[in-house]
């Protein structure tokens, strides 16, 4: 690599003031004596200054910025307080959640029917602790179910992507279904954020976040992708060992 090429690799970061002192000095000394690199630096500076133009992406019509905060606050306060829409869950999710709760409900019934009553003086504290523990168990069970569901969905998607076929013109791979599914999974992931803080599933967070990054890229793909693009995604799945890691993670989440 020539000196100019080396310097040009650093020009953007030089403009960002993100170089160390030695590299900055190297660049500045070179620019002082190289007209071609100076022109390149000037063009980079121009593009950067345009990007900081406050009118970039400004709407043509005058939007009501003044009223927006108040309007949004009013709308936010009128929103229903429910956190999740159970009606939106599909049958398999219902079944999964029901199965997850079943032991807890059975345990609770058993406790209420057969457990020896506590002494009256200690009753309020025990009831409070019991309720809290019950709610925690419910939340944990739900978080486990939702996380396992998300991981399972990602697993299936990755497998489908790997086996995508060249059914498009120009030898391209049809990944339209995978792109749509990636979008749905991204929505599920957003719903999952709070659940991933539950201690029993927190170790799955890093994997779920990596999968999310992959899904974001996949969701931006064309419906018919080139072989190179599909192979690039396959290489990513392989290099990150995503399928293996999901397989290893899932039993610990479901148990």
């Amino acid at each position: 690599m020539s000196k100019c090429e080396t310097i040009r690799e650093m020009l953007v970061l030089h403009a960002e003031e993100a170089l160390g002192p030695d590299q900055r000095q190297l660049v500045e000394e070179h620019l002082a004596g190289c007209a071609a690199c100076s022109r390149e630096a000037a063009q980079i500076g121009t593009v950067r200054s345009w990007l900081t133009d406050p009118e970039l992406f400004e709407p043509e019509q005058n939007l009501a910025w003044q009223c927006l905060p108040e309007k949004l606050a009013a709308r936010a306060q009128s929103l229903p307080k429910t956190r999740r829409s159970w009606a939106g869950l599909s049958l398999p999710q219902w079944a999964y959640v029901t199965l997850a709760f079943l032991p807890i409900v059975v345990g609770l019934i058993w406790t209420l029917r057969f457990q020896t009553p506590a002494p009256p003086a200690a009753a309020p504290a025990l009831v409070a602790t019991g309720n809290e523990a019950f709610l925690n168990r419910m939340h944990t069970a739900y978080a486990r179910g939702a996380t396992a569901q998300y991981l399972s969905g990602c697993h299936d998607l990755l497998l489908n992507l790997i086996s995508a076929e060249k059914t498009c013109t120009n030898d391209r791979y049809d990944v339209s279904l995978e792109v749509t599914r990636a979008r749905q999974l991204l929505q599920e992931k957003r719903m999952l954020e709070a659940d991933l803080r539950v201690p029993d599933v927190a170790r799955a967070k890093s994997l779920c976040d990596e999968l999310e990054t992959f899904l974001v890229n996949l969701s931006m793909s064309q419906e018919c992708e080139t072989g190179d693009a599909v192979r690039g995604m396959e290489r990513f799945i392989e290099s990150k060992q995503l399928l293996l890691r999901i397989d290893l993670m899932q039993p610990g989440i479901v148990d």
Binding site: L13, L56, Q61, L68
Partner: protein, 203 residues
């Protein structure tokens, strides 16, 4: 004067302090957050969505989501990063759901501009000859054509005003990756603009 769920909020409060108050249901703090971030978030969204009305809807959805999901925000994390993540995800959802045909492509823009350039020929000087609205429109389309990873970095850096370290933290990737993507993005934008310059008969 404090009122029902609403308190007077000094403009100097940090974003994170405001968000903590929003978590407690303070709607003045919520309005202040919207005020501080509405334009930045709008520009981030516009780097994904061309249609102004759609972008405005996504902006409102984003802030409503901030409110409904306020308890999921972790105060150890940057509020801006969290907000932009919601905005970008909402933009991607909207983009995928919308009719892509409505989004004008860079080629459409170029065609219009080439037609205009046949009647008015600008003066010398390469990139600097692109002025005002024409330049902004070309740059906006060029930003939307960047590969996803590069676009996220440009969007957060220039429209979201985030530092490179904050972007790395938000994207959970090494700082070097962010720098590399930023370098590629700027060089890509420069290349696309220079192509347009030639197509528009600039010297």
């Amino acid at each position: 004067m404090a009122q029902q769920g609403i308190s007077d909020e000094p403009a100097s409060s940090t974003t994170e302090d405001l968000m903590k108050q929003v978590q407690q249901g303070d709607m003045y703090a919520y309005q202040e957050l919207v005020r501080r971030f509405q334009k930045k978030a709008y520009r981030v969204i516009c780097s994904y969505i061309h249609n102004t009305e759609d972008a405005m809807e996504v902006l409102q959805d984003t802030f409503l989501k901030v409110y409904t999901a306020r308890h999921t925000w972790d105060h150890r994390l940057s509020f801006a990063g969290w907000l932009y993540r919601i905005a970008i995800n909402a933009s991607i959802d909207r983009y995928r759901r919308s009719d892509r045909g409505r989004t004008s492509s860079l080629e459409d823009v170029m065609e219009t501009q080439v037609h205009q350039s046949m009647t008015t020929r600008p003066a010398d000087d390469p990139l600097g000859q692109m002025h005002g609205r024409e330049r902004r429109r070309l740059l906006e389309e060029a930003v939307r054509r960047l590969p996803p990873r590069q676009r996220v970095v440009v969007s957060l850096r220039f429209f979201g005003d985030m530092r490179l370290e904050e972007i790395a933290s938000e994207l959970e990737c090494p700082l070097g990756t962010v720098k590399s993507n930023l370098h590629k993005a700027i060089m890509g934008l420069k290349g696309m603009l220079l192509e347009r310059k030639e197509a528009l008969n600039y010297e």
